[in-house]
């Protein structure tokens, strides 16, 4: 008995279509029928299938014969069409690659263009002067040495006045061409910070005080106003009185270089009176002082103080102040 009970929990395969149909129709041998029942006793799927087919015996069995798996193939191929080989399948045109997503931010090209525009606007506003505007200040026709001016002390209470635009027109009308051997003059502008002049006026005063305070050296190529004036004087044949008058006017307008030039013309003119020459010498010394060249001012003042002119006392007083 033990051996027969040994297979009580064994499991067998589910019924096939033929087994199910034969069992329901009753055309199955007794041993096979027992095997079916033994399996159906453990398998609810087969058991319920036997119950269902048994309820509709002949009709259900007839319809069971028509249930073929062809519909699975039809449905499968409809939804998932078979893949063709490359030799059979039509050529597929390659789709263009999708364009890269454009960034919303500003590109480096735009940033650099903006920076260049800002820099250009900055230089234009700040009055950047290109190379063609640079002017070399030539030395005057009498070959005077270049004037080196270093950190002059502004004269207290001295107010500068700028030339009107019409004066420049007159000066340029009488201008002569550049001298052939123009020497470069290096100078600093001691009074530039105290001035309040426009760029146009600055051009007029550039020959007198060409450089900015202490640091920048400017080279001027255009003929100076002093030379232009000198040319006018020399061509007209006037004497030292005109030079003295022009020098005093330039001194009053704080054009010290221009004034110094005319004072030197008076000093070098032997035809001038000694009194005028001494007065021009004292004024020239003042110009030297204002332009920062005290040594030349002292030399000039000593010459005047040593003489017997009425201006010797003034020269001595100024010399004492300098010392």
């Amino acid at each position: 008995m033990n051996r027969l009970l040994a297979h009580i929990f064994d499991k067998s395969a589910c019924l096939t279509k033929r087994q199910l149909k034969n069992y329901v129709t009753g055309v199955m041998a007794e041993e096979e029928c027992y095997a079916v029942e033994r399996h159906a006793n453990d398998c609810s799927f087969c058991s319920e299938a036997i119950d269902g087919l048994s309820a509709h015996n002949s009709e259900a069995v007839n319809l069971l014969e028509t249930l073929t798996p062809e519909f699975i193939h039809d449905h499968f191929h409809k939804n998932l069409p078979p893949v063709h080989l490359n030799s059979i399948a039509p050529a597929v045109t390659a789709e263009p690659a999708p364009a890269k997503h454009k960034k919303n931010g500003i590109s480096w090209v735009q940033i650099s263009a903006l920076t260049a525009t800002l820099l250009l606007a900055f230089f234009l506003i700040r009055g950047w002067e290109p190379a063609y505007r640079k002017i070399t200040l030539p030395v005057s026709a009498d070959n005077t040495p270049p004037v080196v001016i270093q950190n002059p002390e502004p004269e207290p209470g001295k107010k500068k006045t700028a030339l009107p635009p019409t004066e420049k027109k007159e000066s340029s009308a009488t201008a002569r061409p550049d001298p052939p051997a123009a020497k470069t003059t290096t100078m600093t502008d001691p009074l530039r910070d105290e001035k309040d002049i426009s760029p146009v006026q600055e051009q007029n005063t550039a020959t007198d005080l060409p450089a900015q305070s202490g640091t920048t050296t400017r080279l001027y190529n255009a003929p100076s106003v002093a030379e232009e004036t000198t040319a006018t004087i020399s061509t007209s044949g006037t004497d030292h009185t005109n030079h003295l008058q022009l020098a005093n006017e330039a001194f009053e307008r704080a054009h010290y270089t221009k004034a110094l030039h005319h004072y030197r013309q008076v000093l070098s003119n032997n035809a001038a009176r000694q009194e005028d020459r001494d007065a021009a010498g004292i004024k020239a010394a003042r110009c030297y002082i204002l332009l920062g060249s005290k040594a030349q001012a002292i030399t000039l003042l000593r010459e005047i103080a040593d003489g017997n002119s009425p201006h010797s006392k003034d020269a001595g007083t100024l010399l004492a102040e300098l010392n």
Binding site: F9, C14, E48, H56, A60, L63, L64, L67, I72
Partner: protein, 194 residues
């Protein structure tokens, strides 16, 4: 003329359900789906015949279930295909009955019995002898009806109809006694083991 079933690879027929399901899910192999239909299509049809109106509606249901099967197998992680298919079939029958307004039988909504593993595969020679001794002991504790049906079915190898004739029970009663007696024996052996 060869049918499509005949051109199936011979190895496929030896594969278990899980392997066939995996082959379809992972490789889209139509042969695996075809073989699953061969194994269970007629059973699905039988179940549908039991709960639905007639064989025609059952046939339509079979086609519908196996048409949806490819998608369902990929959607759900199916471990036990047979029990899953029986449950899916019953659910579809419930849906059809609700649409028709027909009362749903309790057997359709009952909790299905979980598949039990083949216990013989886990036993060695000595263990089998021990289990058989326990079975004989447990058999003596069964009810008369259960013991009688178990004896006729497993020891005498009588068919259910023959047992019904001999004992006077109906075939359904015989089936019920056999199932209950077997269930009691399994539990008794498990208790003895513990």
């Amino acid at each position: 003329m060869k049918t499509k079933a005949q051109v199936l690879p011979s190895d496929y027929r030896k594969l278990p359900d899980k392997a066939l399901v995996d082959r379809y899910v992972q490789r889209n192999e139509l042969a695996a789906l075809h073989l699953l239909y061969e194994r269970y299509g007629h059973l699905v049809y039988g179940v549908c015949c039991k709960y639905l109106d007639g064989p025609v509606a059952a046939g339509d249901t079979v086609r519908h279930i196996f048409t949806r099967l490819p998608d369902d197998l990929k959607q759900y992680h199916v471990e036990h295909f047979k029990s899953w298919l029986l449950r899916a079939t019953k659910n579809y029958c419930v849906m059809r009955l609700r649409q028709a307004g027909t009362p749903i039988p309790p057997a359709l909504t009952a909790t299905p019995v979980a598949e039990t593993p083949n216990e013989k595969n886990h036993l060695t020679g000595n263990e089998e002898q021990v289990i058989l001794n326990r079975l004989e002991t447990a058999l003596n504790t069964l009810d008369t009806a259960h013991r009688q049906c178990i004896d006729f079915f497993y020891l005498e190898k009588m068919t259910i109809s023959a047992i019904a004739t001999k004992t006077g029970y109906t075939t359904d009663q015989v089936k019920h006694h056999i199932r209950k007696g077997k269930h009691f024996l399994r539990n008794s052996i498990k208790e003895m083991k513990d």
